[in-house]
């Protein structure tokens, strides 16, 4: 019989048995989000993939984009729980559970995307019966399976002491099936010295193993593209580019999920701001590396102007993919700015006292007014009004400066609202990274060699199935965190023991 701090019991275990209105509303909302996609998928199964906008040569579309994206975001679990575990970083402890769950659910939905993308999902088992180990897709399936199993194992190992705690501290009114589940899953864990010693050993081994498995999955996923002879999928840059993108978007989603859990599961006392601060440094480094890779690719392909590659890059820079490319760049710049600028501010908190939100509002409004004035002022012919032109130029300059000032003035607000800022930046990064995957796949497939260039606009089927996948992802989290606590009870206890000074 293991006991638990009564405060923790009230904050972390008891909510698992309370089904309040928020929970039911969330559940119904999620089902409403998921249902149309399921219906559209059944329709796609019945009619065939023709209901999508996939054509020749756009054989791969939004499902593959989602697949790469989800594989990417699942990286967070490996990074946080394994790398930080091995480095013995203490601030990882409250979020290991969320990170590992993120990996497992991300991989599950990614696998689902592949099934959805297949022309013959009924033959998915052929990959096991007739699988050719020389085929890149088989490497990916193998890697995905190994990674998913390892991630589930890692999540379970990390859950084990908590399941035992749940079993021992189950409230009287709990339904019998939950008692049964907990006692079954706890594997007779009693928390004696030998059990702990073995668990720690296995967790360390799994942490070591999962890192190469994770990195291999992201690299192999890039090989799906670079093993073909299509233009724009350079073999050497794509592997590391995918790994970096995976870590980048993974941390982004981790921030978002942690922020939601922190808010809706009332974990403010458990997940400290220190975590946001520390992890955002890794986030900033990843964004720098991401810019480095993207710059490399854009510069080389643009400078070399090779017959096949260049049309792909040109489509991204100023062609039909320019919106998605430049929105991606703008989002990444904005996210990096959001994360970096507050860090600079800390050096001189007194000096920049002008930078207040109301200054931002004031300068934004002034810029808007000036913009209206400039737009409303009668257009003068160029010959007559040289002076007016310079005034116009100065006005535009002032508008730009005012906008810059308004952005800069928000920095203090960003600094004081770390969670909100990180949440906004993460959302920007996630959208940007999804667009990045879009920009990797779609421009290449629409620029085939012997097939006329074409465009690809996802149909309603593809959009709803994508929304549905996101809904299922959230649903898995909601259900999982109704069954198990969102923060690791035993690691929090461990944290307290190793750091007696810190309060909870």
């Amino acid at each position: 019989m293991q006991t638990i701090d009564p405060h923790d019991r009230e904050a972390l275990i008891m909510p698992l048995y309370r089904f309040n209105r928020t929970f039911w509303v969330t559940l119904v909302a999620l089902i409403v989000v998921i249902a149309p996609g399921v219906i559209f998928y059944v329709r796609q199964l019945y009619f065939g993939l023709g209901v999508t906008d996939l054509t020749r040569p756009v054989f791969w579309g939004i499902y593959l984009v989602n697949f790469i994206f989800l594989i990417g975001v699942s990286m967070a679990g490996t990074l946080i729980s394994a790398v930080l575990q091995l480095m013995n970083v203490h601030w990882r402890r409250p979020i290991t559970r969320i990170a590992e769950a993120l990996t497992v659910f991300g991989l599950m939905i990614a696998g689902l995307q592949i099934i959805v993308d297949m022309g013959r999902p009924d033959r998915v088992f052929f990959t096991f019966i007739y699988g050719r180990l020389q085929a890149p897709l088989m490497w990916d399936i193998a890697s995905l399976t190994i990674y998913l199993l390892t991630a589930i194992f890692a999540l379970y190992l990390q859950l084990l002491p908590d399941i035992a705690l749940l079993r021992d501290n189950i409230p009287a009114q709990a339904p019998a099936w939950r008692k049964k589940i907990y006692s079954l899953l706890s594997l007779n864990w009693h928390g004696n010295f030998e059990q702990w010693r073995r668990l720690k050993k296995v967790i360390t081994i799994v942490s070591v193993c999962i890192i190469p498995v994770g990195i291999s999955l992201h690299t192999i996923t890039s090989w799906l593209f670079s093993t073909t002879v299509q233009p724009g999928w350079k073999s050497t840059i794509l592997g590391p580019y995918f790994v970096i993108g995976a870590i980048f978007s993974g941390i982004g989603l981790l921030f978002i999920v942690v922020s939601f859990a922190r808010h809706f599961l009332h974990l403010r006392t458990y997940i400290s701001l220190g975590f946001y601060n520390n992890l955002s440094w890794i986030f900033i480094i990843m964004s720098a590396v991401w810019f480095y890779f993207t710059g490399n690719e854009v510069l080389i392909l643009t400078a070399e102007q090779e017959t096949l590659e260049f049309p792909v890059m040109a489509a991204k820079l100023w062609g039909e993919f320019a919106p998605s490319f430049w929105i991606m760049v703008a989002l990444m710049v904005a996210a990096t700015w959001l994360l970096v600028m507050p860090k600079f501010l800390s050096a001189s908190p007194k000096k920049a006292s002008v930078l207040q939100p109301h200054v931002a509002l004031a300068s934004a409004i002034t810029a808007a007014m000036l913009f209206t004035l400039v737009k409303l002022s009668p257009k003068v012919t160029a010959l007559a009004a040289l002076n007016t032109n310079s005034i116009l130029l100065i006005s535009w300059l002032i508008i730009g400066l005012l906008l810059l000032l308004s952005i800069a003035s928000l920095t203090r607000w960003f600094k004081n609202h770390l969670v909100a800022t990180t949440f906004i930046a993460s959302t920007l990064v996630l959208v940007g990274m999804w667009l990045e995957r879009w920009n990797i796949i779609i421009p290449t497939v629409t620029h085939a060699r012997l097939i006329p260039y074409t465009i690809y606009n996802p149909t309603i089927t593809e959009v709803f199935i994508t929304i549905s996948a996101a809904g299922i992802f959230v649903l898995l989290f909601v259900l999982f965190f109704k069954l198990f606590p969102a923060v690791s009870l035993w690691e929090i206890e461990e944290e307290r023991r190793s750091n007696p000074g810190s309060s909870h």
Binding site: F47, G48, R56, V58, R123, T228, Q230, L450
Partner: protein
């Protein structure tokens, strides 16, 4: 063992698309609606199209233009990029160098369609359909053995299909030679597009036989292979115009 090859003399080709139609009826490729065809869903194992396909080469402005046409069956590559990426060996190179496709094995992942630089592989986005009269004239031939389904057999939805140099004709020719108790000759086997070619621009034969017509033509200074830079080493050989 033979190494089947096709030589297409572009000088003789009049771009009549007879090969495309002959292929359609020989191999039961379904007809799609004009809307779907515009959307890139048309299936033509043997396609005839103007080159350059995309504006990577200057073709000039009217009236000073240069127009060329090419016809494209499967290249039956020696080093096929499609076969290398198939996860379940639904597409494979047989012992005579033909790249074949098993409709009962294909899982519809469309990796081969991405792998092929020539775009000769087609996907069945919908269940193949024929309008009433057309459906009565489907070719009954098919290759079916050990659970595999190939050749002109009507394809199920969601699988990839491609030109096979009319591989069922090879099997039929061998069976006939056996029935007539004589040796099989390379000239017994000829794909539908070669048989029908208006300008007699297509030649078919065994590349391993140094005296065959294809071996002779392959030595021509006009001979070239499409997209040689991809390293696929096609066995469909072209003879340049002019």
């Amino acid at each position: 063992m033979a190494r089947w090859s096709m030589v297409i003399d572009l000088e003789k080709c009049v771009a009549c698309q007879g090969c495309s139609i002959a292929c359609r009826f020989e191999n039961n490729t379904p007809v799609v609606s004009p809307d779907e065809a515009k959307n890139g869903r048309a299936i033509r194992w043997n396609d005839v199209f103007p080159v350059p396909v995309n504006p990577t080469e200057k073709t000039g402005e009217y009236p000073n233009v240069k127009t060329r046409y090419t016809t494209r069956p499967c290249m039956q590559c020696e080093n096929p990029p499609c076969v290398k990426v198939c996860p379940v060996q639904a597409t494979y190179k047989d012992d005579q160098g033909l790249i074949r496709q098993d409709y009962n094995r294909c899982i519809g992942c469309r990796f081969c369609t991405m792998g092929c630089p020539y775009g000769v592989r087609y996907f069945n986005w919908f269940k193949p359909e024929w309008q009433e009269t057309l459906s009565e004239y489907r070719n009954p031939d098919q290759l079916k053995m050990n659970g595999s389904l190939e050749g002109p057999a009507v394809r199920p939805v969601g699988v990839v299909e491609k030109c096979t140099y009319c591989v069922h004709r090879l099997f039929k020719a061998k069976a006939r030679a056996e029935a007539e108790s004589r040796d099989f000759r390379a000239s017994d086997y000829v794909p539908a597009c070669v048989q029908t070619c208006t300008g007699k621009a297509r030649f078919f034969g065994d590349l391993d036989d140094p005296n065959s017509i294809v071996s002779q033509l392959a030595k021509s200074p006009r001979a070239f292979r499409m997209l040689e830079d991809t390293g696929a080493e096609p066995k469909t050989i072209y003879l340049q115009e002019g």
